[in-house]
Amino acid sequence: MEPADDTLVQRCLAHDEEAWAILLDRYAGYIYAIATRGFRLGPQEAEEVLQETALSLVQHLPSYRGRGPLRAWIGAVAANAARQYLRRRRPTREVLTPIEAADLPDETILERAEEVLTVQAALQRLPEECRMVLEQAFHQQRQYAEIASALGIPQGTVASRIARCLLRLRRLLEPEEEISPRREENRSGRHLKE
């Protein structure tokens, strides 16, 4: 059984390397999401922010007094690491968007990261056929022909499967009562062309 955060913190403060590895693995996705969605950084940049956040956590953990959730503290450290990373980078046209993101308050940045984890968790609850088609269409950005070939389905059904799976994902993410009226309407929904 994985240790609770407070136990882990005590072990980390005692310089337990295994505890640090568990802590990093537990929060790597969150830190990465802060970098990619909160600050709109690319994969390589996000890896660097993850690495710098890890070191920053080791450096500053003694100042964490357990007054709030560890997750929030780690989020703040990661956001700070991302901002420092952006400041160090030479400004170019490509980095305008991340720099703008760096001006957002921590609360917004962390909310965006939480959304990523929520969607990813919901994705894991979908049937494999849905996970695979969404993964290939969006994360891997593969062409429909490639997806069809990889999944062994006709190319013409890729789009409809994507749509169906996106709908299932929404059902998992939004409470039923919030979208049910719309679902009823959609059953008789008309195309605009009509």
Partner: protein, 139 residues
């Protein structure tokens, strides 16, 4: 224009997988229909997240290696700041001192350590802090 766009079509429009003419119609509808616009906004958020890069497993060992170095440096520093005898030993041979803690003695780290060694006996805390921060950058 009456009614709503079927939700599947909204999802496909957001995903960019419907014919352009139909997409234009749907976009026009979204400007006038709050309910469909809300669904579209939701799908945009989902699709944005699904397109995000994810942590790469292959780079994780490198991050863990650096993390271990950090943990060892933390242990090293704790001893350095609390045991005068250890400080003297580090001043005498910083490279060996680092190696005893299984810390890779990078040139930056050894140089930063030398600065700590050069501190006058009557230094204040801020000087130490400044030099300790340099040590972290040397990892």
């Amino acid at each position: 224009m009456e009614g709503h766009v079927p939700e599947e079509d909204i999802a496909l429009a957001v995903a960019g997988v419907i014919p352009p003419a139909e997409a234009v119609n749907i976009e026009a509808h979204l400007t006038a229909c709050a309910q469909c616009a809300q669904a579209a906004a939701f799908y945009r958020g989902i699709v944005e997240v699904l397109r995000l890069p994810r942590p790469v497993d292959q780079t994780r060992p490198a991050i863990h290696d650096r993390l271990r170095q950090g943990v060892r440096l933390r242990r090293f520093l704790d001893r350095l700041l609390t045991e005068p005898g250890w400080l003297a030993e580090v001043r005498r041979d910083p490279r060996s001192a680092l190696e005893r803690f299984q810390i890779q003695p990078t040139p930056q780290l050894v140089a930063a350590l030398a600065e700590i060694g050069d501190l006058p006996q009557e230094h204040d805390g801020s000087q130490i802090d400044e030099r300790v921060n340099k040590l972290w950058l040397g990892l």
